[in-house]
């Protein structure tokens, strides 16, 4: 069993009347890259600030490495934070910024010098040591912020949307750098972002948060292939969601009616007639066919979108629902047809029971 480095028990937090965090418990394992992912305002940053101690929680308990830190001052917690805007000290040089934490703790001069050099090497900022933050590019400022946190050898590094201020290309590059750094140092990262792309590429595990509640904690693969709630399915990746009702069950097969002429047949897993089901199909799990048969659905093509890597076909079904289909490499693109037929493999369907947040 892996060691739990941060444990949050029954954390609640509200600002005014609004519940920002609603009874959340999380175990973070040593050395993992854990991402808290959710739309803005879902309470991600609140969790991070509770762990770092910048805000005290209203109820619940926070343990770091087995010690109850719920009421401990941020200066005494062995975690460090990378802030969204980096929050570098503008009047200090890169070097002074990096060793700020050690200077505050009155670490010996030799030790400070040694560890500063290590960090400057680690983030490749040696030649910029005397620059002020405003003389650095966004990516360089980011590196300084990372070094400034890591020099304290924290048990956990908290990252609050650290890449959001960077442009697309730099962001991709920093994602890799961060991931490599985390592997190299073996430090636990708790990473907050609203970008699913960042979450999926970097994380060992992802927590999906919405409106102060945990929707799912899982590996990136599992979150994508087995979303537990409609929210997760919708939030992670593109999905086409059909809401339908179980019409009849026979031979362990459930017939689910979405509209007059859209019907899904799927293996029943204890469904009852009248159950509300959400059926989710990822764009890449559709295939387009030329001929109609009794399973596939007619799709009126509206648009082809080419994003450099793949082509997406956007079309509408008979109920005017918009559908996204990602074409497989080398497959027919039906550029000159108005209507094609959508097919899918029954095992690719993700089925969630209606309003409940349980996966069925």
């Amino acid at each position: 069993m892996e060691k739990v480095i941060v444990r949050i028990e029954n954390m609640c937090q509200s600002y005014g009347k609004k519940n920002v965090i609603d009874d959340i418990s999380i175990d973070v394992y040593e050395g993992e890259f854990l991402t808290i992912l959710g739309p803005s305002g879902c309470g991600k940053t609140t969790i991070l600030r509770a762990i770092s101690g910048l805000d005290f929680i209203q109820s619940g308990k926070i343990m770091i490495d087995g010690v109850d830190v719920t009421y401990l001052d941020p200066t005494k917690r062995e975690v460090n934070t990378i802030f969204q805007n980096y929050a570098l000290f503008t009047t200090m040089s890169v070097e002074k910024n990096i060793n700020f934490g050690l200077r505050m703790k009155h670490v010996g001069k030799e030790e400070i010098k040694k560890r500063t050099e290590e960090m400057l090497d680690l983030v490749k900022m040696g030649e910029f040591r005397n620059r002020k933050p405003r003389e650095l590019s966004g990516g360089q400022q980011q590196r300084v912020a990372i070094a400034r946190a890591l020099i304290n050898r924290p048990k956990v590094l908290l990252l609050d949307e650290p890449l959001s201020a960077l442009d697309q290309k730099l962001r991709k590059q920093m994602q890799l750098e961060l991931k490599n750094l985390q592997k190299k140092m073996g430090i636990t990262f708790i990473y907050v972002t609203h970008s699913q792309d960042e979450a999926l590429t970097m994380s060992d595990r992802i927590i999906i948060l919405n409106e102060g509640k945990i929707q799912q904690i899982d590996t990136p693969h599992h979150i994508y292939s087995h979303p537990k709630t409609r929210f997760v399915a919708d939030f992670i990746g593109d999905s086409n969601i059909f809401d339908g009702v179980v019409e009849s069950i026979s031979d362990e097969q459930a017939i689910v009616r979405v509209t007059e002429d859209i019907i899904f047949t799927l293996p029943s897993r204890g469904y009852k007639v009248g159950d509300n089901l959400s059926i989710i199909i990822r764009p890449e799990n559709f295939t387009l066919e030329e001929e109609k048969n009794d399973k596939n659905l007619p799709l009126k093509i509206k648009n082809h979108i080419f994003d450099g890597a793949a082509t997406q076909v956007i079309g509408t079904l008979s109920n005017r629902k918009e559908i996204k289909v990602e074409l497989r490499k080398g497959s027919e693109d039906f550029k000159n047809r108005e209507t094609v037929y959508l097919n899918y493999q029954t095992e690719d369907l993700i089925v969630l029971k209606g309003d409940s947040h349980e996966k069925v």
């Binding site: 910048l54 941020p74 934070t81 929050a87 570098l88 503008t90 700020f100 400034r148 304290n152």
Partner: protein, 285 residues
């Protein structure tokens, strides 16, 4: 059209030029010139060139006046800093509605003449004044505290009169300070005091310089505070200059002291600019 425009421009500028020329430049020029003239025993000015007035300043008596003035001004500045920072940090944490109330409270006394406000302090500070009466009624003191007619009185008066000049620039710097920087500092293990010394002070240094200059320079010259609250016992530069012109009627000597004071002020402003201050920030009132 162009000609017309420039005519209008001159028309608008004319009063300002007139003002500067006749109320600032010419009087200063006059002061500068008479500082090199001799005086006679009847308060007149003899138009004979001399450097006597400047050498006279080197007299130990006047050197002492300079030192006393700088000491008082220095202490006033330090005390103002010590009040302005806690105040600014306190107010900047408040909601914007309360912020403006607190700032109003700082600014409102400005609307009254500072001489009148200084008289107000006499009512509070003198032996039979409010503070001493209350304290002795409460049996906290046996005999009245000497709160005025000494250096303490001068410093109280100076701090009171000049405090807003410190608070406003310091506050505006503190208010602009990025809070996440302070959070980062405490995240990195800096205690409250360390945050103040290593982050807040360096980050608000321009405001601090600005305020110090706005307090220090007037503190050298405010003669009426020393007259009223110091009992005229302590001679400051402002008093010296005033006395030379109005009492001793030695205008050339008063003029030379004024010129030296102007030069010192000039160097202080130079120092401020060198430390990264902007001239615009000084003209805020």
């Amino acid at each position: 059209m162009k000609k017309y425009d420039s005519k209008i421009k001159w028309l608008i500028l004319l009063p300002i030029i007139f003002y500067c020329l006749f109320l600032i430049v010419l009087p200063l020029l006059y002061i500068f010139i008479i500082s090199f003239f001799q005086n006679d025993y009847y308060g007149g000015i003899i138009q004979v060139f001399t450097l006597k007035n400047y050498f006279q300043i080197l007299d130990i008596v006047y050197i002492k006046v300079f030192l006393q003035s700088f000491l008082i001004a220095f202490m006033t500045t330090i005390i103002c800093i010590c009040i302005a920072y806690p105040f600014s940090l306190f107010v900047s944490e408040k909601k914007s509605r309360y912020k403006s109330i607190f700032l109003m409270l700082v600014i409102i006394p400005f609307l009254t003449n500072s001489l009148i406000r200084t008289y107000g302090w006499i009512v509070l500070l003198r032996k039979e004044g409010l503070i001493n009466t209350v304290l002795s009624q409460l049996h906290l003191i046996d005999e009245p505290l000497a709160l005025m007619y000494n250096n303490l009185g001068i410093i109280i008066g100076m701090v009171y009169t000049l405090l807003p000049f410190m608070i406003l620039p310091v506050y505006s710097a503190v208010d602009k300070l990025d809070r996440s920087m302070l959070e980062a500092a405490s995240d990195l293990g800096a205690s409250k005091w360390q945050r103040f010394i290593h982050v807040i002070i360096p980050e608000t240094l321009p405001g601090l310089f600005n305020g110090s200059l706005m307090v220090f320079i007037p503190a050298i010259g405010y003669f009426f505070i020393s007259d009223l609250l110091g009992g005229g016992k302590l001679m400051l530069l402002g008093n010296l200059i005033k006395n030379q012109f109005l009492v001793a009627r030695n205008w050339p000597f008063g003029a030379s002291v004024s010129i030296v004071l102007i030069i010192i002020t000039f160097f202080l402003v130079k120092l401020y600019k060198k430390a990264g201050g902007k001239m615009d920030d000084l003209g805020g009132f």
